[in-house]
């Protein structure tokens, strides 16, 4: 079973600050997805990265896939209260299932 560890587990910051969330594994993944999950709802896909070293930007969110395709990071610039939520990374192996990370719960304080 591939394990994806996310850090930090919890993060509480002030509005306007920058932050980075990490997703690390000892396994190689063919793709890496980032999801955001609200309480009582399903994960919502934010982005998919597939190439080692790939960087994707989604407004204030920047996602990077590690060169070796074992790790990924999510950087948020000028965080806003609307960014509050649970951020999940999930690795795909080319088979049909995703391995989800442990999650980072972000709270942005106005």
């Amino acid at each position: 079973t591939q394990l994806l560890e996310q850090s930090p587990q919890f993060l509480s910051i002030q509005e306007g600050e920058n932050l980075t969330v990490y997703c690390n594994s000892s396994s190689v993944f063919s793709s890496l997805q980032w999801y955001r999950q609200e309480p009582g709802e399903g994960p919502v896909l934010l982005v998919t990265v597939v190439t080692g070293g790939e960087v994707k930007k989604l407004k204030r969110l920047t996602f990077q896939f590690g060169d070796a395709r074992k790790d990924s990071s999510l950087h948020i610039t000028a965080a806003q209260p609307g960014d509050t939520g649970l951020y999940l990374c999930a690795g795909g192996t080319g088979a049909n299932n995703l391995f989800f990370g442990t999650g980072t719960r972000l709270t942005v304080i106005p």
Binding site: S30, S31, Q33, Y35, G40, E41, G42, P43, V44, L45, T48, V50, L88, A90, G92, G94, A95, N96, N97, L98, F99, F100, G101, T102, G103
Partner: protein, 115 residues
């Protein structure tokens, strides 16, 4: 925008009873999945389904579980004899194809409570 739907949103059942959780995947998607999330824990893969058969399943997906695509739109997860530890959120997901980027779109989930 197309989305995955699930019914019911909340199911309460007695231990030992059978439950069927229903999902309508996105219409042009070909791969379907079930995941579960026990409260406070991470999302775990249960099973994937393609071309009317299971393509992969996890250790969690034992003989008590089954999946079916009874018609052209629905995808169901059946638990034959529920146990207390089956209490969890169950998410259905679908993807357009078995592509390397493996993008899966999730439904809102069914919260199963086994008493």
């Amino acid at each position: 925008e197309p989305e995955v739907t699930q019914t019911p949103s909340h199911q309460v059942t007695q231990m030992g009873q059978e439950v069927i959780l229903r999902c309508v995947p996105i219409s042009n998607h070909l791969y379907f999945y079930w995941y579960r999330q026990i409260l406070g824990q991470k999302v775990e893969f249960l099973v994937s389904f393609y071309n009317n058969e299971i393509s992969e399943k996890s250790e969690i997906f034992d003989d008590q579980f089954s999946v079916e695509r009874p018609d052209g739109s629905n995808f169901t997860l059946k638990i034959r004899s529920t146990k207390l530890e089956d209490s969890a959120m169950y998410f259905c997901a679908s993807s357009r194809a078995r592509e390397v980027n493996n993008e899966q779109f999730f439904g809102p989930g069914t919260r199963l409570t086994v008493l």
